[in-house]
């Protein structure tokens, strides 16, 4: 087993577009890394560069001690699970799983053993002789996983493998992937735009934005200690409440909204206050009020949405806030709630650079 190391990796397309703008990363052996970011941020491109499906314009990618920049995809000892599974439609499930091994001139008995073991592990041993078009989406997904597993590679690459599954199956497969990865202890890189998948699967998470790694760390570290406005807004569901504010030396203000208890912030600069929905509390002596307009009941918890009274967003409209409460919290619609938060649990960012100040 070996880790993956990226040294100032760049990708520039012939038309001059920069997809990856210098990424450094050390992935430890056996670690599960998730690349997360909005569409077009370069996360898939980066994964495909590790796979060898995209050329590397600058920097080095190595697996273990071996630099693989110019090694062909089939010789990098990596296996990939594609978003749409990419099964060979003219081969049976067994054919799909054994194809890569046959091309590597592996012994027939060994191929059979590996295919049967992987099929048993993934519970697809009953379908081995079927064609891919006779399988359901979830089963195809498993075959795609099986094709990667039998290779017994140094690195697994997952390119949004669950995005074509229905919600229930997605949760189930997510758990299975995590278990499999634990059990096989293979270095894995997983690309997703779904922050729940990212949070739950990752040993470490890399938030990618515009071709750069914005922040990398354990999921809870990114949640509790985001370095930038982008990371704070991307990680966490429901999304963090962001309130544009100004600092006058003692208080943060937005219109009639005045929040005391902050210090050491630059004055006359546009700032953004970030408060997670789960640190907001309903309390009589809270700092501000919200007008409730929607309650989402999720079963175990309720999400209360509404406008923050006295404050406006950058366009001058009502500023929406979200509060997370237990299932008993059912405030009257159009009523007001007084909310409070501990200023030590809030974040303050510079609006222009996105850098976190508190």
């Amino acid at each position: 087993m070996s880790g993956v190391h990226l040294k100032s990796v760049r990708k520039t397309y012939p038309n001059g577009a920069e997809a990856i703008r210098g990424v450094d990363m050390d992935i430890q052996s056996g670690e599960m890394i998730v690349f997360v970011g909005p569409s077009g941020c370069g996360k898939s491109t980066l994964l495909r560069m590790v796979a060898g499906l995209e050329s590397i314009s600058g920097g080095d990618i190595s697996i273990g001690d071996r630099v693989i920049n110019d090694v062909s995809p089939s010789e990098r000892d990596v296996a990939m699970v594609f978003q749409n599974y990419a099964l060979y439609p003219h081969m049976s499930v067994r054919g799909n799983m054994s194809y890569g091994l046959k091309n590597r001139k592996m012994d027939k008995a060994e191929i059979d053993k590996r295919v049967n073991d992987a099929a048993k592990m993934l519970k697809i041993d009953a379908f081995l002789e079927r064609q891919p078009n006779q399988l359901s989406g979830g089963q195809r997904q498993r075959v795609a996983m099986g094709r990667a597993i039998v290779r017994n590679p140094q690195v697994f690459l997952f390119d949004e493998p669950l995005s074509n599954l229905d919600a229930k199956l997605r949760v189930q497969m997510r758990i299975e992937i995590k278990r499999l990865q634990r059990r096989m202890n293979v270095t894995s890189i997983y690309v997703t735009h779904d922050q729940t998948e990212a949070m739950t699967l990752a040993d470490r998470l890399a938030v990618i934005n515009d071709g750069l790694v914005e922040q990398m760390g354990a999921p809870m570290e990114l949640y509790n200690d985001p370095k930038t406005l982008f990371v704070a807004s991307f990680i966490g569901a429901p999304q963090i409440n962001l309130i544009p504010v100004k600092f006058d030396g003692t208080t943060l203000s937005n219109g009639a909204l005045q929040l005391a208890g902050f210090s050491g912030l630059p004055e006359n600069t546009d700032l953004v206050l970030g408060i997670r929905p789960d640190v907001l509390r309903v309390s009589g002596d809270g700092q501000f009020e919200m007008r409730v307009d929607l309650v989402e009941q999720h079963g175990g918890e309720n999400l209360v949405y509404g406008a923050l009274l006295g404050a406006t967003n950058n366009e001058g409209d009502d500023l929406e806030v979200c509060l997370k409460g237990d299932k008993e919290m059912l405030p009257d619609l159009d009523g007001t709630l007084r909310l409070g938060f501990d200023s030590s649990t809030a974040f303050v960012f510079r609006k222009d650079t996105g850098e976190r100040l508190i």
Partner: protein, 292 residues
Amino acid sequence: MKRVQFEHSPIPYLFVAPQIIIIVVFFLWPAAQAVYQSFLLEDAFGLSSQFVWFRNYSDTIFSAAWLQAFWFTIIFSTLVTALSLGLALLLAVKANEVIQGASTYKTLLMWAYAIAPPVAGLMGNLMFNPLIGDLYGFMNAVGFDFDHKLDPYDAGFVVVLISVWKQVSVNFIFFLSGLQGIPKSVNEAALMDCKSPTRRFWTITFPLLAPTTFFLMVINITYAFFETFGIIDTTTQGAPGGATTTLVFKVFQDGFRGADIGGSSAQSVVLMLLVLALTVIQFRFIEKKVHY
């Protein structure tokens, strides 16, 4: 189970009538005529005819000229189909890999599609003209004693070359669209599973092109059997000594040049049966190996 019956109206029949009339007038009726005439023997001036049972058929099938045309048609069709499919596949695979100037390149390869077979034949005729033909001059200049007016193999070479050239563009278009129909991710998965491009082609790309290949094979055999008539008529006209006469060309020659309506009809009936048998074989045995 009770079935719902709708009131019958004659209007649907009116809508299909034009198609039915076309089929009856231009296909069924002439075919029936051919079958009927294949049992008749006409005098040289077409004034009287006599019912001769299967005489026309036995005369046809046992004549050396018909057998020569039969074997030439088989070899000619095999060569034209194999070469035009093979070349088109090679060109399509290469064109699919081109990144810069791809559309210009593809358009250039498709141009020949717009040329009618007789026109292709005329162009070929000019190029192989013993006085001014560039290809004729070239073949002789590089050391072949080339003369398609006298040598049956040279004549065969000319008609095969022109027929293949004409057909490659059609096959190219279909192969190219077939190649582009293969999902990108399947090719990428193959790239990670198999190092050798040749092996990748034969184990992934080619099997996925099988439906296209099968369809083109049927089209190309039909082309080689029937449509090459225009090419042969404008180049060799079956010469030398009937060496480049296909079955269709012979039907035309015997019927319209030789005024042997009965014999020519018998030949077309035999040809019809041959094509029928060929089609059955294609769909029965080859289609089974195709994954859609």
